[in-house]
Amino acid sequence: MTVSIIRFGGSNCDRDAERALAHLDIDADIVWHEDGLPAETTGIVLPGGFSYGDYLRAGAMAARSPIMADVREAAADGTPVLGVCNGAQVGCESGLTDGAFTTNESARFQCEHVYLRVERDDTLWTAAYDEGDVIEIPIAHGEGRYEISEERLAELEDDDRVLFRYCDEDGEPSAEANPNGSKHNVAGILGDRETVAVLMPHPERATLPAVGPTDGQGILRGLESTDSSH
């Protein structure tokens, strides 16, 4: 099995993701977007960074690059897809997930550790946790405010598609613990299939023991439990 980490011009967390996955013994290759998605791909990471310099809107250009048609097709077939930070913005812009990640309420780039409450423990991405667990993972973004109509968000919540919410140390999703003004403290959501997830925080930066908390490991482990038919 090989996970494909899609590198766009301006991606800068692709090597972090590769190193973090290697630490977890998950085989992964960085794939240049113009080279297309390798047939042996068993999982996909859309990494963080500033693809296409965030021109127009963060993620807008990468979402419309040809490889994303392959990614959407693989996602529809059940291949796990994880979008992190800029990858989450690409995921929303490409229609893999609902909503949009836009300018932080502070109008500033924010780089800090945050707490997330695990909203479900029955997905690939959260099998390592229990529902209600509080995990510590860094964020680093200027456009991470989750925006969506109240009606659509209510539908997503009814469908149990919210995966993580920003919370305080005790697991309370308070306004104070919301770093960017995201609606209902949403930090990560699932796509139409639960094998597709996007989140603004960086699990690959919370995986190697040498660099701090390792609470992100469980999320990346979602890429190892792949369907053998792919």
Partner: protein, 83 residues
Amino acid sequence: MTAYTATVTVRLKHGVLDPEAETTKQALERLGFELDSLRSADRFEIDLEADSSGAARERADEMAERLLANPTIHDYDVEVDER
């Protein structure tokens, strides 16, 4: 074929928070200006050739739908003028 300029204006939907506009408003106030509110928008001026202004508008509409605007957060309008 006639030469047109299609002007696509993309703005945040009513009710969607605009932190950059809010920051700009505060900066204007610091400069001593009085204002009630401020909204910002992106404007794209697209030169193209088409059989009719309707055809030019249709093409610009599709550009807005597929790339220039994000329907989750944006509204847009299109104006077409001969050039």
